[in-house]
Amino acid sequence: MNAPLKRKITWALGLATFAFLALTGCAGNAPLDTLDPAGRKSEGISDLINPIFVIAGIVFIFIQGAVLYIGWKYKVRAPKKNEESFDGGYTDEEFPEQVHGHFGAEISWTIGPTILMAAIAIFSVGFLLNLDDVDAAPEGATYPDVEVLVVGQQWWWEYHYYLDGIEGANEPHFVTANEIVIPVDQDVRIYTTSRDVIHSFWIPRLNGKKDAVPGRTTPWVIQSNEVGRFAGQCTEFCGLSHAYMRMYTVALPHEEFSSWVDNQIQFRTPLAEDDPNYEGEQLFITNCARCHAINGVTGREMNGETVADSMAMYGNIEEFRNHSDGTLSQGKYTGAANLTSGAAPNLTHFASRSSYAGSFFELYPNAQEIADEGGYLDISENDYARGTLEAWLRNSPKEKPNAQPGQARGMPNLNLSEAQIDLLVDYLMTLN
């Protein structure tokens, strides 16, 4: 087979592959798909980029077509079998017209693209400047001013809810982890920040990403047009377990959001000694409470005092607000100053969440279907994945890479017995 024929075949194959790629690429079932927007902001981005993809596609076809056409039209014959291939074709001393350039052409293909880029610039910058604007809440929203401080840490996300907005509030109304729940059709202002390294908060179907930089709080918006659960992934490399740092955003109807808030805001009371889960709770207090809080149950030592209300560990918003001066200290617990988190997810309503461990594991099989069909509020009524949860408690570094022992980031192996694991799982699953 000679080279030009090979070339044609290759190009044909290449184009076919590309077309195949392009078609299947959009059709796949990908929970993180940026081309499948479900929120006002992501739709705006999509509307902005789609015409650019078209323009780029036209230029692509033009340039590739030109390369192919020129290559086909102006090539001299390939050397025959017995010729020295590297010296073939030039023995004839024939020359094409020796063109050194064309001023008009140069000017036009300098000015032309400049105008094109200027046009793109003009209609993209306006959109860009409004990208993190927040629209007023729709009529009938129970919490029109809900704002959330989104705190990244190795390797999970924490959400501090300020139901009346962050202005004027000091402490959050409640704190949750991994899954941020928002009312549907309402712009929720979030502020990203970090306790340790830089992370990036990204729910592709709702909005672009925003880095969570320690010492800074950066405003951003999430909003969903539909009820459901939307996957996210930390997208700034944040060390060992970066791949395992995921999160979900769940959009609930307004009344369900109110019920969810009413539940989340509840503290627990310590169980009575005759409660079947009393032993599990005691195990939790001895083994887990050094890092995990259950509001109302686990007392935490702070500044030498035991504070019954573990919400205090999250401090007030002044700690996080407007730290362009970089005065934010790392972590709230100064006792753990040599590490960064010191805190682990608040487990007060563990069983009300569909996933755990940086949303890497599903607590309920089929959680996605349940949430998309509007069953998120009562998700704890479903069967849960006991086996995975037990495996997690048995040896969590095996399930998800954690920092070296002693660095205290990520959950360590607690060397629990099987009986203890059973009791703990039973107890945890009551925390709905």
């Binding site: 290759t10 290449g14 790629l21 690429g25 079932n29 929970p31 993180l32 798909d33 940026t34 705006g44 981005i45 902005l48 650019i52 230029v59 340039i63 390369v67 020129i70 290559g71 102006y74 090539k75 001299v76 074709g89 030039y90 020359f95 020796q98 063109v99 050194h100 350039g101 052409a105 140069e106 293909w109 693209p113 880029m117 793109i120 610039a121 993209s124 959109f127 400047l129 990208l131 390294v197 830089i198 592709p204 672009g208 990403k209 880095d211 930089v213 950066t218 996957a231 992934q233 997208t235 700034e236 490399f237 060992l240 970066h242 791949a243 001066d325 970089g326 590490l339 890479p401 070296q404």
Partner: protein
């Protein structure tokens, strides 16, 4: 003059009765003598040998970086794979980036610069030959220092794990307690010295050592692009040096430049890194642009279309490259106004790049194109780089970038730029200049088949990554889950990566096979000008003799060599004036002064990695390394300008007038002999 010299200089030597002269100037500080095997390479100051060593080292590091890539692709070939642990994966992707950017792409560009700049401007060597040797050895030392992190203190225990971008505070001691980031910071500091020194050397070379008549606007495009690259390096390297010093001091001496708890802002690192990092992209791509700007006219049999526009678009890219760095930081929260400004500046950098692409196409348009292997590669650069450029435009829109950044879409984008634009161009350059450099052809047959394997493999690897990225696959993740829709394209990408590996192996095999075939007399010698090329490096024998040119070339035109071969008749048709063999120098003039080899660049360069180990492990080692550096510099200063024993003729001041005089005499003498 030859006669005069044979009466004076050799007599002086012979007066010692064939013995080395009793009086060595300045005691121990003699200069090594060339011509004996490996020493010839270790102590060489010849820009061509140094260029070859840059190329060999760059290829070696390219293979190593490629092996890292294969392991990454194996790990990601299916969901939930466990070939590499998260810890190792993070080190491997970091080393892949660092090795490919700093130890493969930069030195391969430096190889072309070192070998070709002096030849293309008609010079004997670079301005500071010993400094040139110094920068190579420093680069090699820094590179080996970086790679040694794999072995020291345990297998993959102390490799850098913070990504090639090394964002703080993740690279602080707190979050990266191994010695890896120390190796990263100090290793890059050392290779940075090499780049900076080399840049100064080549800038002086281009500005001062061009052949008479070669004005700046008559220089070949490759020399122009490489010159711009050196300018970029000159200003970019100090920035990364500062950043790396800050990082090193943070880690080793408890400074607080990036310590958030003490009030630092981690974005400082990002600004410093990308003010270096974006011009760095153009440091990588412009040499390749230059290479294909030589290949395309040669094989289209036409001059480059729009020479001044090619030059000025290169300069424009160089300038604008300084004003776009924050487009790497659109998601970092630098504020909407800054984001908008950098978004717009990024869009407009597409303009000069587009000018280049259209000029290459216009050069090919109406030509008589011969698709040899180099031309195939050059054409592929035009096609593939365009894809990278277009995807670049799609994320110059900062809003769109907030979806695309840190996903595989970006990985696809910059591999289309770096692999499609740079590596393919460099391979084209290898095939193009191989006969000139080594005196034998690389097999076109293997060359063309490996080209297709490489281009198809490349597109299979990085094409699907566009889709993966838009489907939301993050970068730098060690694993993904099966429900995320990433399975198929990751597998395809892995297959493609192995095709690239096969193509690279085919290239290496080609070198071996072609060399054997040539030695066995199966392939003809290329002669001075196998491709009917245009620039001065083809106007001398292949392989290039040590002294480059027999006589000083007086340049009158751009593409001087071509104009000596071809002219125009009255009808304006191109007709032959002379054959290449008639025009080209045959390398027979051995009467040319050349700088002598030197021990000291190597000695001084060895000190730097030793200082590096000292900083990490034991400060006493720094003293030892310091002694090497100081001793090397001391010897450097005090060694004689020439060794009287060396068989390299006497030393003039190396100025053109002298060489001219000399060669003029030589010509006369040889003419006389002919007459006799």
């Amino acid at each position: 003059m030859t006669i005069v010299e044979s009466e004076e200089t050799p007599l002086e030597l012979e007066s010692a009765g064939g013995q080395p002269p009793a009086e060595k100037p300045l005691g121990a500080f003699t200069r090594p003598q060339g011509g004996n095997g490996w020493k010839d390479w270790l102590f060489t100051v010849d820009h061509k040998k140094i260029g070859i060593m840059y190329g060999a080292a760059g290829l070696l590091f390219f293979v190593i970086g490629g092996i890292y890539a294969l392991f990454m692709r194996l790990q990601l070939s299916r969901p939930g794979n466990s070939i590499l642990s998260a810890e190792t994966y993070n080190q491997v992707f970091t080393m892949h980036g660092v090795v490919m950017v700093f130890l493969a792409a930069i030195p391969l560009g430096a190889a072309f610069a070192n070998y070709l700049i002096p030849l293309q401007i008609g010079a004997r060597d670079v301005a500071f030959p010993r400094l040139n040797a110094f920068s190579f050895w420093v680069f090699l030392g820094g590179g080996l220092f970086l790679l040694s992190s794999m072995f020291i203190g345990g297998w993959w225990e102390n490799s850098p794990d913070g990504g090639w971008f090394a964002y703080s505070p993740n690279t602080g001691v707190l979050f990266s307690p191994s010695k890896g980031i120390d190796f990263f910071a100090i290793g890059l500091q050392i290779t940075g010295i090499a780049s900076l020194v080399g840049a100064i050397n080549l800038i002086v070379t281009v500005l001062n050592m061009r052949a008479p008549g070669m004005t700046l606007m008559k220089m070949p495009i490759l020399t122009w692009m490489l010159f711009i690259v050196q300018m970029l390096l000159l200003f970019a390297m100090p920035v990364i040096s500062v950043a790396l010093f800050l990082l090193t001091f943070d880690r080793l001496f408890g400074a607080n430049f990036f310590n958030v708890a003490e009030g630092a802002d981690p974005l400082l690192w990002q600004h410093l890194f990308w003010i270096f990092g974006h011009p760095e992209v153009y440091v990588l791509i412009l040499p390749s642009f230059g290479v294909i700007s030589e290949i395309i006219p040669t094989f289209s049999r036409k001059p480059i279309f729009g020479y001044p526009f090619m030059v000025f678009s290169g300069i424009a890219i160089g300038f604008m490259g300084w004003g776009v760095w924050a487009h790497h930081m659109f998601a970092s929260g630098v504020g909407p106004v800054a984001v908008a400004a950098f978004s717009v500046s990024t869009m407009f950098i597409a303009v000069p790049t587009g000018v280049k692409i259209l000029n290459w196409l216009a050069t090919m348009w109406g030509g008589r194109i011969r698709f040899t292997t180099p031309m195939l590669y050059a054409t592929a650069v035009v096609a593939m780089f365009t894809i990278g450029g277009l995807s670049g435009v799609t994320h110059s829109l900062a809003a769109a970038d907030s979806q695309q950044t840190d996903t595989y879409y970006i990985v696809a984008h910059f591999h289309y730029v770096i692999f499609g634009g740079i590596i393919l161009g460099f391979f084209g350059g290898f095939y193009f200049w191989w006969p000139k450099i080594f005196g034998y052809f690389l097999s076109e047959k293997i060359g063309k088949s490996s080209f297709w394997v490489m281009v198809i493999g490349f597109n299979l690897t990085f094409g699907p990554m566009h889709i993966l990225g838009l489907q939301g696959m993050s970068r730098r993740i060690q694993t993904y889950s099966s429900g995320q829709g990433f399975d198929l394209w990751n597998l395809v990408a892995t297959i493609g990566a192995f095709m690239i590996a096969i193509a690279t192996a085919m290239f290496i095999g080609n070198v071996i096979v072609s060399r054997k075939a040539f030695k066995a007399g199966k392939t003809p010698a290329p002669g001075p000008d196998p491709w009917d090329a245009r620039s001065l490096e083809w106007m001398t024998a292949s392989p290039v003799p040590e002294h480059n040119f027999d006589e000083t070339i007086h340049v009158e035109k751009q593409d001087e060599f071509w104009h000596r071969k071809w002219g125009k008749n009255e009808e304006g048709q191109v007709v032959r004036r002379a054959t290449a063999e008639e025009v080209a120098h045959d390398g027979s003039n051995t009467n040319v002064h050349l700088p002598s080899p030197s021990y000291w660049p190597l000695v001084a360069a060895i000190g730097l990695p030793i200082i590096g180990y000292g900083l990490i492990y034991n400060l006493l080692l720094c003293v030892l390394g310091g002694l090497f550096v100081l001793g090397g510099l001391y010897g450097w200063v005090f060694e004689p300008v020439d060794d009287p024993n060396a068989d390299n003729h006497d030393h003039g001041d190396g100025q053109d007038s002298y060489a001219e005089l000399e060669t003029a005499e030589v010509t006369n003498a040889s003419e006389d002999t002919t007459i006799e």
